[in-house]
Each structure stands twice: as C-alpha cells, then as structure tokens.
C-alpha cells in the first residue's frame, strides 16, 4: 500500500475548522508547526514611531498528515474546504510520496503505523 504525506499551509485561525473536519473523516494523526512565509499575499506593513516596516513573512500554520494513497483525494478535499476563506493568503496543500513510516512504540511499519 502506498503512503502519502499531505502538507498544508493554512491561515492560523482556520486550524480548528480543519482539525474538526479531519476528525470527522477519521484522520487520527496530525502534526502542526508555526511557520512564517509569503506567497502572492505578500506581507503587511507595521508602523513604529513613524517608521514603516514591510513585514514579508506572514505567520501561518503548517500541517503534516500521513495517509494511505487511496485516501489522498478525500483528505485533501476536506482540508481545502475547511481552510478556504476565499480571500488571498489561504495557503497551499501539497502531496508527496512517502518511503515508509514507523511507529516507535511497537516498531510497526507502513500502513499499520499510521
């Protein structure tokens, strides 16, 4: 069985919606990291004592989820529908093929370890 890593970069305030959506379709594991970056949205301007600073890197959350290959489309669709606001800066989702995965406690490998 093929393993896929789904990586999603989303707006931080959408994390609860996305998490609830993933739980509802039985996704059991999720890793979240606070990240900074920019895409087409670019950054924003901050003003301190009259000096304007262009802040290029906007705070985002990065989600990493490992799933069986057969579930990829379902999970990606679920993330996209729950993370979308329709405005610029909603983020990206990408999928990569995974060599293997190991559950540390039991040493299980592959889909058994998801």
């Amino acid at each position: 069985m093929e393993l896929k890593l789904i990586t999603a970069v989303i707006k931080p305030f959408k994390i609860d919606d996305v998490k609830a959506g993933l739980k509802s379709i039985g996704v059991d594991g999720l890793t979240v990291t606070e990240v900074h970056g920019f895409g087409r949205q670019r950054g924003h301007t901050e003003v301190y004592r009259g000096a304007e600073y262009e802040i290029d890197f906007v705070p985002k959350l990065k989600l990493e989820i490992v799933v069986e290959g057969s579930r990829v489309d379902e999970v990606v669709d679920n993330i996209v529908s729950n993370a979308a606001t329709g405005s610029i800066g909603d983020g990206k989702v990408w999928v990569t093929t995974l060599e293997t995965i190991v559950r540390v406690r039991t040493n299980e490998r592959g889909t058994d370890a998801i």
């Binding site: 004592r49 009259g50 600073y53 802040i55």
Partner: protein
Amino acid sequence: MNTTDTLWVIVSAALVLFMTPGLALFYGGMVRSKNVLAIMMNSLAAMAVVTVLWVLIAGSWAFGPDLGAGLLGDFSLAGFTHIPTSLAGLAGVHASPLAVLLYQMMFAIITAALISGGTTDRIKFTSFVVLISAWTLLVYAPLAHWIFSPTGWLAQRGVLDFAGGTVVEINSGFSTLAVVLVLGARRGWPRDSMTPHSVPLSLLGLGILWFGWLGFNGGSALGVSNVAVSAVFNTQLAAATGLIGWLIYERSTEHYATTLGAASGAVAGMVAITPCAGFVPPYAALIIGLLAGLACSKAVRMKFKLGIDDSLDVLGVHGVGGVIGMVLLGLFASKAVNSAGSDGLFYGGGIHLMLTELLAASVSAAFAFGATWVIAQVIKHTMGLRVSEEDELKGLDLSQHAESAYSAGGTGRFSS
C-alpha cells in the same frame, strides 16, 4: 532638619530609582529579542556603577562647596567619610542633606542609563560601563553643579530648571548623539527590519516611568510644599497631553494611532514639563505637554533623513523635549506658582527669562555633546566601542552575556 520634607525626599528617591528598571523594560521591549538582556544590563550597570562613583567623587563635584567660578564642587564630600550637615547654597532646604544627595544620585543613574537607548545592539558591554563611568564624572557631575547647585555658574545667572530639563534631558539627548556618531549605525540599519520584539514590555516600562516621574518632578521641590504639589500635578497633565499630541500627529500623518506612539508621547510630555514642573500653572502644563508630543513625534522621524541611528530616539525625545521645555518655561513661568522662580514673558517678566533658558539649553547641549564625543573617541581608539560583526549578528545577549532572554526548554546539555 524637617522630618516631613526628608520623608518626601526619601520616598521620591525610591520613585526615581524605580524609573531605571522601568526604562530597562521600556527600552528592552523596543529592541530585537537577541539584544533585550544586553540593553537591560546597561540600566542595571548604571544602577550599580553610578551609585559607587556618586559616593566616591561625583556627588561631591556636583553638590560640594564650589571650587571657584561655579564650575565644579570640591572633594569635601568625596567618599562620604562623614554625614554632611549642610549643602552649599541650599540653606533654604530643610530636608536632610544626605537624603538630598541620595535623591540626586538617582538622577545621575537614570541619565546614564538613558544613553543605552542610542547605543543598543552594538556597543560592547565593558565599553558601555567605561563610557558611563567617565561620563558620570566628566559630564554629569559638572553639569549638575552648574545648574542644580545654587552655587553653579548657570544657576547664578538665574537659570530655572526645576528637575533637569538640561541636566537630565538635554544632557542625555546630546550625549547620546555624540556616542552614536562615534559608534556608527547598527549593521543593516535602516534597510533591515528592526521592529520592537515586545511592545507590551515597553508599555509596562512606560507605566513605571510615569509613576516614578511624579517623584522625579515632585521630589525636586526637596520638601513638602505647594510647589511640590504643583510639580506632581503638572507632570500628570503634561504626560496626558503629550500622549494626545503624539497620537494626533500620528493619526494625521500615518492614519494609525499606535500604542508605542502613545507611550512615547507620554514620555515626551513628561520630558518637557521636567524643567517647568514647579514653576508654571497647570493650564501651561497642558500646553507644554501637547506641544512636546507633537514636536517629538515629528523629531523622531528626522533620524532617517539625517542617517543617524539614534536607535530608540534619545535625542528625538529627550533632547528635543528638553529644549522645548526650557524655551516654553521662558513663556509660562510665574512667581505666583513659585516665589523662588521668575516671571516669564506671559507674566510680565519680558524676554529675559527665555534668553537665559536658551543660554542654559545651548550650553548644556554643546558641553554634553563635545565632552561625550571626546570620551567616546578615546574609548573607541583604546579598548574599542563596538562588538565584532559576528557578535552583533549573533546578538549581544549571547555574545556579551552568554544568555538568551527567551528559550522554550533547553536542547543543550550541561558541561562544566
């Protein structure tokens, strides 16, 4: 000795002392997270080093009997081998002389600490300590003698400066300018983003500064009197209108009212009222604070045009605010508020007082700048002023003090 007056001066000394850790927070929040401990350490160093120097020599040079021509006090108080029973020219003050010297010590501490606002993120810790040590003896002590001691040559000319518009504010502003010119700008300034790492820290610092400033100005009456009450009252008013003035300027030029702007405006208002606090009626404090808030908000923008990295605007807030206060005192001073003062232009005193105040402001600025520039040059060409490029990029917290302000759980391990 009057016990009530003495009590007020001791309490005020505590209030002024508290301003220096307040300043450390105010400044610390405005720098990047890799330099916050270093700038706070500068304030801590001032609290210790200036205390010792004050007792050894500086206090005597500032308030000891005049050596002649009103230029410097003698060594009679040096080392405080005895408890002083009187202070030259201060016969009308009924607070304990030791309390007065304690109180004045706190002024020297915070004025030295203010310099760190210009030198932050790039000055060597040891060089900063040597700098403020030499500066306390060679710049602060003489200036305090000229103006705060009634036997000083500027005081003798009728200069009014209630709580240090010259000795603290103009002095710190122009001394900082001198050091910054010798030191150079932070690497990457102004291209790189050097935004405050914690504005809430700065706002907490502002709260402490505001609280302490009531004693900074109120205590300068050196006793409990109507003048002391006026000074405290006026300080509150000028802080309020300074805050409002800064925000008015900000809203009308950048369309935002910022919290750091509000804090800076309150400081600017209190800076400007410092020389005036016990000499002007309350309505004047409202005007002086407002004008200082507007003007200092404009002034801090100038450094980008001038290309001078006065990082946290010591010149723009303290130097400019101090000059504004001194000049406006020439308009608003009233003998009805303080019989020991003078009447300004609006109270029938003519232009004389304003010219005297301008003289004191100019002399203070020129002396502070010139003498501090020489001290900074000597340090630069002997022990060096700046950290290496690598240390500056790493941050002064690590490179100067081997600490980090914020670490969420260590990932290193103990090694002896």
